[in-house]
Symmetry: C2
Subunit: 218 residues, 2 copies
C-alpha cells in the first residue's frame, strides 16, 4: 500500500494537492531507539506512520521524562511540526520504540495545504482534539492516581501492546514513561513481586496474576 492509502482525507484533495503532497513526502525507515526530534527551533515535519511504534514524551531540565502518548501505524504526528501551529511553544520529543516506517511531510507543505483545504483543516482539528484528550487523561493520572495504580495500568497496557505477559522492559524505561525515578519503580515492582503479581528477572517482567494487576489499577 502506498502513501495515498495512508494519508487521511486523500480523496478530498484536488489532483494538484495530491501531487504536491505525494511528491514532497519522504519515506524513511527509523531504527528502534532513534530520537527523531527535536531541538525546539527545528521543524521536522509531520510524521505519517506506515508501521512500527513511536513514543511522544517531554523532558525536564534534569533529564526526567514522561510519556505523553504513543503513535501506531496510520497515526499522524502533528507535534513534530509544531512550528506550523501558532502559539504552540512546547517541545515534544519523539522516539522510535520499534523499527518504524514512516513518511515525513514537510511542515510548510502541510501548513499551506491546511490553509487552503477545508477537509485537511478539519482533520487537523480532529487529531489535535484527540491528542488533547490524551493529555488531559495524563494530567488526571498524574494528579489523582497513586503510582501503584498507574504502574499496574501501564503493565497491563504493555502486555496488550506486546501481546505477551512477559515484558522486555527495564525499570529505567518504565520510570521514563511514568515521569518518576527508577528507584521508585523498582521498589513498587518488588512490592508487586512479594504480592505474587509479577516475577522479576534481569530486563524482564513476567505478569503472573493479571486479575491482581487489574484490581490494583482500579
Amino acid at each position: 500500500m502506498d502513501f495515498s492509502t495512508y494519508f487521511p482525507v486523500w480523496n478530498k484533495l484536488t489532483p494538484v494537492q495530491q501531487n504536491t503532497i505525494s511528491t514532497s513526502a519522504v519515506f524513511r525507515t527509523i531504527a528502534q531507539g532513534t530520537v527523531i526530534t527535536g531541538d525546539g527551533t527545528d521543524c521536522t515535519g509531520l510524521l505519517l506512520l506506515k508501521s512500527g511504534q513511536l513514543r511522544a514524551y517531554i523532558l525536564s531540565e534534569e533529564g526526567r521524562e514522561i510519556t505523553i502518548y504513543r503513535l501506531f501505524e496510520w497515526d499522524i504526528c502533528l507535534f513534530s511540526a509544531s512550528c506550523i501551529l501558532k502559539s504552540s511553544q512546547f517541545e515534544i520529543m519523539i522516539e522510535a520504540e520499534k523499527d518504524t516506517e514512516l513518511w515525513v511531510i514537510p511542515a510548510e507543505i502541510y501548513k499551506a495545504l491546511m490553509e487552503e483545504s477545508l477537509p485537511v483543516s478539519n482533520y487537523t482539528n480532529e487529531i489535535m482534539a484527540a491528542r488533547f484528550s490524551e493529555v488531559m487523561w495524563l494530567i488526571e493520572q498524574i494528579l489523582w492516581k497513586s503510582l501503584d495504580r498507574r504502574l499496574a495500568a501501564f503493565l497491563l497496557d504493555e502486555a496488550v501492546l506486546e501481546e505477551s505477559s512477559t515484558l522486555k522492559i527495564t525499570h529505567e524505561m518504565i520510570a521514563n514513561h511514568l515521569g518518576t525515578a527508577r528507584e521508585v519503580i523498582t521498589r513498587m515492582l518488588r512490592y508487586f513481586q512479594n504480592e505474587g503479581i509479577v516475577k522479576l528477572r534481569r530486563g524482564e517482567i513476567e505478569i503472573i496474576n493479571t486479575a491482581g494487576l487489574r484490581t490494583i489499577s482500579g
Copy 2:
C-alpha cells in the same frame, strides 16, 4: 461594540454565515462564582467573552480541583462545546471568577460553520494549539516544579491580574488552582510569611517582597 466585533474571522464569513451565527448567539451575564458547565453529556456551546474572567478546571472524583487555564475578554472557550470535537472525552468545568458578559454560540451552529468555513476551521486549530500549549506547560509545572515555586509564580500572576499586591483569595481557592490540599497551601504561605515575603490576613494575602517571590518562582 457588538457581536461582530468580538467574533474572530467575522470578515471572512459570508453574509449568510454572519447572519446565522449572530442571530443564534445568545448574550448572557454570568454572576461571579457561577459554574457554567457541565455534566459531561451536556454541550453548553462555545463561549465568547465580552468582559469578565472565566476559569477552566478539572475535578477529581474526590472533589479536588486544578486550574487548566483562564479566559479573558475576546477569548473563546472551545471546551464548553467539546461535543463538537470528535475523540474528546474529558470534562472541563468552567466557573466565572468575575462577573462576566459573554455570548453562547450553540455547538451545532459552530460545528456546521467549522465544517463549511476554512477560516473558522483554521481559527479553531489555532485556539486548540494555544490551549494545548497551556496544558503542556501545566504538566511540566506539576511534574517538575516544586510547590513553593508554583505558589510563588501563582501569587505573582494574581497580583498582575488583579493589579494589586493585596490578593483577596482564600487558601482553599489557591489549593483548587494548584491541585493540592488547603493545609499544604497554608503551611507554605506561613513559611513565606516567616521569610517576610507575604503578610497573611483573614481572606487576604499581601505581597510585601515581590523580588523575594520572583527568586523563589525561579
